[in-house]
Symmetry: C2
């Protein structure tokens, strides 16, 4: 019986796979030729190519990415960095969609995604060290709160990066991909008004990515000044904040007949509070959300909301990042939103 301590090491040693040399030998060519077929097959005769491919098949060869990276300085991986000081973002249903879509888009190009959480200053430094150490070729950054130092640090380090949503730091230091938050907010506000609602309130979260724009869109339609009493601001896009904000709004403007919440999560909280207050939705108070996330479908009643094309945002982020890595032009992109009418308004 083998000592347990040694089992892993033993198996690991056994498991060492075929190298480029094994393939070369079997194919009867040099190591250089095998490398050439690995990298596009240019300047290789048909015969050699055939022989090498067969040999690779036979041996079950896989490139050793470490060896390759050591010389090419490319890791074939990108970092997906999530900045979530309040541990909140991870619960956002939008985030899941984004992460899944990015992973998929990258997998199609055979690129791997390594997930990193910026939960503290310490972690941020770990991430920066890691990224600067060329462990990843670039970074997809999901940053929601204003003034995230990571954005400027990444930019300063010259690391290829793209942000989701307009970065909440001064200057356009990094390219970003975002939905057209402002126009989306206009769409919703206009719709609410067109439905005949006289007093349309808003639950806004100006410090969260997109929050400014959503508030501006609302103001674009309803005017900037006269609405103080109809707007309540919260700190994040959470359900709980929605509950509290709705409570406050009802207190300030008991006569309101519609409310636009800056996210579906917020809207779902508003729904709960409205029911508790004995107001029917949409008959007494209409409710509009933003995001068209899963909860929009699952809340009761289902939410009328603004759809953000998140799958597209993800694909575009990946596209912009890869271009940037290749040294091509990488411009910010703004994607159109769409009104989705359900039962809440």
């Amino acid at each position: 019986m083998v000592h347990p301590k040694s089992r892993g090491a033993a198996r690991r040693a056994m498991r060492r796979g075929p190298t480029i040399d094994d393939v070369a030998e079997l194919a009867g060519v040099s190591r250089g030729t095998v490398s050439r077929v690995l990298n596009g097959g240019h300047y290789v005769s048909a015969a050699s190519l055939e022989a090498v491919q067969q040999a690779m098949e036979q041996t079950g060869y896989t490139v050793n990415q470490s060896a390759r990276s050591l010389v090419t300085k490319q890791s074939n991986a990108i970092g997906f960095v999530l900045s979530e000081p309040q541990e909140r973002l991870f619960e956002d249903p939008n985030f899941s969609v984004l992460l899944r879509s990015c992973t998929q888009a990258l997998a199609e190009q055979d690129i791997n995604l390594v997930l990193m959480l910026e939960t503290s200053d310490e972690e941020r430094n770990r991430i920066l060290r890691y990224v600067r150490g060329e462990h990843v070729d670039g970074v997809l950054l999901i940053s929601t709160h204003s003034g995230d130092p990571l954005i400027t640090e990444l930019a300063r380090a010259g690391v290829p990066a793209v942000v989701c949503g307009r970065p909440l730091v001064p200057g356009d230091v990094l390219p970003y991909v975002a939905a057209d938050d402002r126009e989306g907010a206009r769409q919703m506000t206009r719709y609410l008004v067109e439905q005949g609602h006289q007093r349309v309130g808003m639950i806004s979260a100006p410090q969260i990515a997109g929050g400014q724009e959503r508030l501006q869109g609302y103001q674009d339609v309803l005017g900037r000044k006269a609405l103080k009493r109809l707007v309540v601001s919260v700190d994040d896009y959470s359900h709980e904040a929605g509950v509290r904000a709705m409570h406050e709004l009802l207190a300030k403007s008991p006569d309101l007949d519609a409310v636009f919440a800056a996210s579906d999560l917020l809207a779902s909280g508003a729904l709960v509070e409205l029911r508790r207050a004995g107001r029917r939705v949409p008959d007494d108070v209409a409710v509009g959300g933003f995001d068209d996330s899963r909860i929009a479908r699952e809340s009761d009643p289902p939410l009328t909301t603004i759809r953000q094309p998140l799958e597209l945002v993800a694909r575009d982020m990946v596209d912009v990042l890869l271009r940037q890595i290749r040294g091509e032009e990488a411009a910010t992109r703004i994607l159109p939103t769409e009104l989705v009418i359900r039962e809440s308004a």
Copy 2:
């Protein structure tokens, strides 16, 4: 003006950081000594250690993981594989918690998490190739549906791996970490009975991880035979399935006064359907969920549910996997659940 194509390459070349030799030179020691401090600092004099650390600081040195991996055969990364043929799992709030907690637990050990989605047979093969190619040292597997081929393939390949939840394949081919689903279901069922409910129905999902056990727990308390009319089975843990199942259950057993749903998502669907049917919760029908996920707090009314210690599950998965990688004993672990009483029952 530089041609755009070359910009990336140029910057990349510039960015090449300090190597172990630079540090060695600056510290006035050999490359071997630097390597030693990098790997635990054993057999190094206090003076050398000090000098090296200072030199590392000064140069801003970071190890080149590729070079290291090339010789150690360890990638310092683990794969987090999510098998989700129906794209459903990613929307499960439990999954987010699991992913976040695993990422954090690994980050604490300075290990990176690479995320992989098994969305198709093709993707599964890509994952297997990748894993066999030693790109990761081990795999954390989240597999919910029965008969996932990845489980057996991973086991056959001899890759260190641990599954979340009891794997739905015959034989214990891989160690796993799970909450005590069966006992949790008993806790809930008992509670419902103790509250005086006479006809306790169940919405079960026997094909999903933990689903069998949750049904068994219910049957442990209420008896196996007599309850056919009170149990409805669904295909997954989704909200929509909950709506449909509740509808069906109400049709089959209009007199039921409580229902235990095998997940919070399912329970939230049941809540919607009950309201539509004009039944008050908990007065007419009490509802119990399972998971204590975010929705349990956010649904209306908040759900009485069974808490799964997911953060703990995640930490234990990481622990079991790392042990396995080190060649130590790696045993399956079952974690206790807890009844959380809110307003729905």
